[in-house]
């Protein structure tokens, strides 16, 4: 389904984040005249056009044709490993997550750190990647009262998604750990470490090891 979203954008229902990424990649490889941006969502792709130059009907038809041809994107080949110090001061919500899930804190950490996740899309803030899907036993609701400030590097979960706060931001996800790595730097190209389609794993580190891992990852 393709619906107009204002006079200068189409919201393309792709049913999955994978297919949204596949269509975005296809549009980048082979641009449709008049299309100026494609922004992946959870089950959709926002296709923006130049309203002064594009032929909206032609763009809509071309996107519809592309959509029928793109396959579900195979799992991305790039694997990102994010070191995390779990619990304690770094993960203040770990005890609550254990309570809510009926798991021990160690089990929560073990399941989070062994899951292989994918970047579904980036949003919320520069460099913030929505990672999914978590194992169902880690599914928890958001905080009832969001924090006004979640520290930089906080590793958090909500629903079936996990995310890492690239900067100190307000947020309602439950924080179970913290990573010392830089995730967003506007002066690097690309500016984000985690891009749509990347595979992501979390690696448990001790709080004392954080300094060794701090800064820009080698494989940016």
């Amino acid at each position: 389904m393709i619906r107009p979203f204002g006079e200068a954008a189409l919201l393309v229902d792709t049913a999955s984040a994978d297919r949204a990424q596949a269509l975005a990649a296809d549009l980048q490889r082979e641009p449709i005249p008049g299309v100026i941006a494609a922004i992946p969502g959870l089950g959709s792709l926002l296709v923006e056009l130049d309203p002064l130059a594009a032929d909206p009907e032609a763009v809509r038809d071309a996107v519809a044709t592309r959509l029928t041809h793109v396959a579900e994107q195979a799992a991305g080949t790039r694997l990102r490993t994010i070191p995390v110090a779990y619990g304690g001061e770094m993960g203040p919500d770990l005890p609550d997550v254990a309570d809510l899930t009926g798991l021990s804190e160690a089990e929560v950490v073990e399941r989070h750190a062994t899951a292989e996740l994918r970047v579904l899309f980036d949003g919320f803030a520069p460099g913030f990647a929505y990672l999914g899907d978590l194992p169902v036993e880690l599914r928890v609701a958001r905080l009832e009262t969001p924090r006004t400030r979640t520290p930089t590097g906080s590793v958090a979960i909500a629903g079936l998604m996990s995310g890492v706060y690239p900067a100190a931001l307000p947020g309602g996800w439950r924080v179970i750990g913290r990573t010392p790595v830089t995730l967003f730097d506007p002066r690097r190209d690309p500016p984000a470490y985690l891009m749509p389609g990347d595979r992501v794993r979390f690696e448990r580190i001790a709080a004392e090891e954080r300094e060794r891992h701090a800064g820009v990852p080698d494989d940016w």
């Binding site: 922004i39 969502g41 919320f124 520069p126 506007p186």
Partner: protein
């Protein structure tokens, strides 16, 4: 040439007209001027390219000085004075060396002060706009403070006055993608206290809202959270949003929304996408209605201000 911010007012930032539309897939908001139409006009009046860095001044209360003769222009919803002289809006004027301009509240939320030559600030991810939340762009990624100095580029283009008009009346919207509540938007609305560069919340009847899977948000999208209070999304909106969107404000009118003040009333009028595109071409035509100022000699310093 150096411009000094003597008083910044409640919020003054360096912005450009177009922001960073190309980095949303990594979560970077578009940003840029909240009223991009006024920003482009201000630049054109001082002979700058449309996307030259300029000042977005919120609600007034700013005092800005120059060390050399400077051509400037103010557009948008504020007004300017130099000493006791009321300066024209939508027309370039000169500030003498050592002079200062006071920007005051008028009928809108934001003014755009362009200077001939543009401000020399770093380009980050293709734009000079300040991203206040992420803390980059503009001057050190932050709002301007008293004592800040900005360097000005070499002067080039001709100065001008504007002779066009801006649309009035209801704010025009195009339906979609979640059209169920579109008729309910026909009510009378009032701008709520929550009105900033990211969006403008509206008070009025509660309408049908709710959550949807996160989706990319175009400029002007009207999101309705579960509380039923619509929010019109502006320049600093997040890349994605998870609320129902019954309609979007058309591009030709989005700058007018950015000029609304808390307590202002507004109503929406539904138009087709074709009408919206026609309105955009019209707005572009009005933007282009500028006439060059007479080549003024030294006696043309009528608008040269003195220190306050």
């Amino acid at each position: 040439m150096t411009i000094e911010i003597l008083e910044p007012g409640p919020l003054t930032t360096v912005q450009d007209a177009f922001g960073r539309p190309g980095w949303r897939h990594v979560g970077v908001p578009v940003g840029g001027a909240a009223d991009p139409w006024s920003a482009r006009l201000a630049n054109r009046l001082v002979g700058n390219p449309d996307d030259a860095p300029l000042l977005e001044i919120t609600l007034g209360g700013a005092l800005i000085a120059t060390d050399e003769l400077a051509w400037m222009a103010l557009t948008g919803g504020l007004r300017a004075e130099a000493g006791a002289i009321e300066l024209p809006i939508h027309e370039a004027w000169r500030l003498r060396p050592g002079g200062s301009v006071r920007i005051r509240a008028a009928d809108g939320a934001r003014g755009y002060l362009a200077i001939r030559g543009g401000f020399l600030v770093e380009r980050v991810l293709g734009s000079t706009a300040t991203d206040l939340r992420a803390g980059f762009g503009g001057l050190e990624g932050r709002a301007l403070l008293a004592g800040d100095r900005l360097e000005v580029g070499p002067m080039t283009g001709p100065t001008a006055r504007w002779t066009g008009t801006r649309s009035t009346g209801p704010i025009r919207i195009v339906a979609g993608p979640h059209t169920a509540a579109i008729d309910a938007l026909g009510a009378e609305w009032t701008v709520a206290v929550e009105a900033d560069r990211a969006g403008v919340r509206l008070d009025g009847p509660r309408i049908e809202g709710g959550e949807v899977p996160s989706m990319g948000l175009p400029l002007g999208a009207i999101q309705v959270p579960p509380d039923g209070r619509p929010i019109v999304m502006l320049a600093d909106r997040p890349v994605t949003g998870g609320y129902r969107a019954p309609a979007s404000v058309i591009r030709a009118d989005i700058g007018r929304v950015a000029q609304l003040l808390t307590g202002d009333g507004l109503s929406f009028a539904s138009v087709t996408a074709e009408e919206a595109i026609k309105a955009l071409h019209q707005a572009e035509g009005e933007l282009a209605k500028i006439e060059p100022l007479e080549a003024a000699g030294e006696d043309g310093l009528a608008w040269a201000g003195s220190h306050e």
